[in-house]
Amino acid sequence: MERETILEAQEVSKVFPGVMALDHINLQIRKGEIHSIIGENGAGKSTLMKVFSGVYPPDAGCILVEGKPVVFKGVFDALKNGISIIFQEFNLMPELTVAENISISDLPKKGITIDKKQMIKRATDLFDSIGIKLNPNMLTKDLSVSQCQLLEIARAVGNRSKIIIMDEPTAALNNEESELLFDIITQLNQQGTTIIYISHRMKEVFDISDRITVLRDGKLVCTVDAKDTDQETMVKKMVGRTIYMTEKFHGSNIGEVIYSVRNASVPGLFKDINFDVRKGEILGVAGLMGCGNIELAKKIYSLIPEGSCEQRLDGKTLSINSPSDAMSHGIAFVTDDRKNSGIFEKVSAKENATISILTRLKKLFLIDVKQERKCFADYVGEFQIKCQEDQMMVNLSGGNQQKILVSRALMTNCKVLILLEPTRGIDVGAKYQMHHIIHEFAERGIAVIVVSSDLPELIKLSDRVMVMCNGEQMGFLEGDDINENCIMLKAAGLKGGSV
């Protein structure tokens, strides 16, 4: 039984200077379905969603809502036509209360003043109807990241839209909260709301979708029923070539223990963590969101002042009070949030890469430009980074930016390399290259610590996996025990699997 089309893109194209973000897209979304859109970064998913939700107009083609062509002059227009969108970057106002954020587009009035009671009631009613627990009087800036995500979802639900677009909604949620989200989605769907869902997490996509659309390089590759296909086929269509997801790296050059951490604790984040890493080994640190693995990595690199930890490198006890201390001892770090704490946007690619080793590049008080260029060129060649040396960092793709950040860390000739979410937000091709780079450098003798929420990645890369749960160390997994099952069991705090 074919449902009618509620939202349609006809020959939609969108051009940004130098790039065709959307190329004659023809897509029909059916009423009441859950339709997922997948594709690599840069494939056009977010752009298409922004066109659907009124953030920008298409340069060619048109959008039809319930068969009628519409022109949106802004997000508010789209809202009036029944389309709501939850962005990846939160659109909340931190200094407003939760209730104010919910009602901001339509503040209840009592004469010339605001009806605050009504505002709070609206918020509480909304939360009750979907099962979220948030305090309407709390300031939004005091909420945790996952609470913000839930608030965004509540806002979209509160708009009573016919169509809700969700862009990576589970990125900030833990398992429990993701389940809550899926419950909400099911509930909305039963009430007749159409959901358009964007995600990189294939498992989720297959769990909830009715149909899946694949975008690649701005073009629509195919739209299929979820039950008629499988993950590997979809990935193939996204990338255009076959990538063996089952590849697994094994360290062949693992030596003695070179780096040890003892009694690492930060009140409120994690407690009594102890581990060793050997030369040439890749240690994965797994766990659910909020388990403390990312904070642990930040603590050992001295980005968190509270708490304590003892570190030994090459037998020597280290006293680390700042990132430059850590670097001088041979520990390097690559952030998970490259936009805010990784790249220097307006600086050239070359200078972004060499920023940590400037002291070494000096010749008579000044930086030796020739040496600098050579250093950079070496890494460009080795990592196949596609860019000009004086291009502004902000113009590079996510994958190239990430490669440069890793180059920056590796240029310091570090003995220990800490990577946080090394392939977050980069396309499948670059991901594959990044994994090879990490493995290659481990083989050359570097002790690598990888903290990642991408389980398949962790499984592929790691020689050993340390699992954390709620700030506690749950144990180590080696060899055949490194698999989704064992890791998830430990991460959930349940007994089982090897110690």
Partner: protein, 325 residues
């Protein structure tokens, strides 16, 4: 999991919103001991009247800063208002002159707002430029000379009249404060102001009329500056285009000392008024003790630094931005 709103300890109470109140008490006590004549009713009246100028303009400025911006042109607007009033009284009489000044000031506020919203220039820079332009206009208008209105003694009533013993400027200050507070906490304007000040992009996407709010905020800063100008010209009965060169900075100082956050999104009008009173106490106290204008400015600058330093050292680590919340 419903979260409770964080409980207040004494320390966070003092270093938080009400820091300026605590500081006011200390400052008053300090000067009262050194110069007991400060405590007479006459002296207190003086202090409050003095404070009213910066307090009134400070209320308008609080709106601008809550929005995340600054209005550096208020000094020039005040000067221009005094000149307009002084020059037009002979032809159209006192009430009309004042009204005319308000109209012009409000128009300037609209222009400021348009420059910021249409030309997309940052507030700091836009008003830095308009400050110079308005001063230039005032100079041309008066030919660089001061204009006197000595003969219009009714004008003096504005600053010297008293109701129930309270000078009129102080009453005006209270009224402006109450009106501003009402606008801020009970009307949509206040919510929109905080929304646009904490995340402009999100506010726009949420259909908050950000551009209109910006224009209104700058109209209010201009209007309050004009009001300060009315009081000034009524006090001294002359007008000059070169007055008010540090007025904008004084207004910003009282807003910041009062506790309004510079990054926008949360304004504290009560703090602004209290800070204005505190600065006035310092100025009057130092004058009574025989210190000149320059020393006064030095002290105010030093207090600004010291109070913010204390606030920083006493606030929890999270606020300092060293740890992610």
């Amino acid at each position: 999991m419903t979260d409770k709103i964080k409980p207040r300890s004494v320390r966070s109470f003092i270093t938080g919103k009400y820091f300026i109140f605590v500081l006011l008490i200390f400052v008053f006590a300090f000067f009262a001991i050194l110069a007991p004549v400060l405590c007479t009713t006459e002296s207190i009246r003086n202090i409050l009247v003095n404070a009213s100028l910066t307090a009134i303009s400070g209320c308008g400025m609080t709106f601008a800063i809550t929005l995340g911006g600054f209005d550096l042109s208020v000094g020039s607007i005040m000067a221009l208002s005094t000149c307009i009033i002084a020059k037009t009284i002979p032809t159209i009489g006192i009430p009309a002159a004042i009204l005319f000044a308000f109209v012009v000031a409000s128009l300037i506020g609209v222009v400021n707002g348009l420059i910021i919203t249409k030309l997309k220039i940052q507030t700091f820079v836009a008003t830095l430029a308009t400050q110079v332009i308005i001063k230039g206009i005032a100079l041309i208008y008066t030919g660089g000379l001061s204009v006197s209105v000595f003969s219009y003694t009714q004008l003096k009533a504005f600053s010297s009249a008293r109701i129930l013993g309270i000078p009129l400027p102080v009453i005006i200050m209270l009224l402006v404060f109450l009106a501003s507070q009402f606008l801020y906490s009970r009307c949509r304007f206040g919510v929109y102001l905080r929304a646009a000040g904490s995340n402009e992009k999100a506010a726009r996407l949420s259909a908050v009329p950000v551009d209109k709010i910006i224009i209104w905020a700058f109209v209010l800063t201009a209007a309050t500056a004009c009001l300060a100008g009315v009081i000034t010209v009524s006090q001294v009965l002359t007008a000059s285009a070169s007055t008010g060169s540090t007025f904008a900075l004084s207004a910003i100082t009282v807003v910041v000392l009062g506790g309004t956050n510079l990054s926008g999104g949360s304004g504290f009008l009560g703090g602004t008024v209290v800070a204005a009173i505190m600065i006035s106490i310092i100025e009057n106290g130092l004058t009574l003790l025989g210190y000149s204008d320059d020393i006064q400015r030095l002290v105010i600058g030093a207090i600004l630094i010291v109070s913010l330093t204390i606030k920083m050292f006493m606030s929890p680590l999270v606020k300092r931005g060293e740890v992610a919340a």
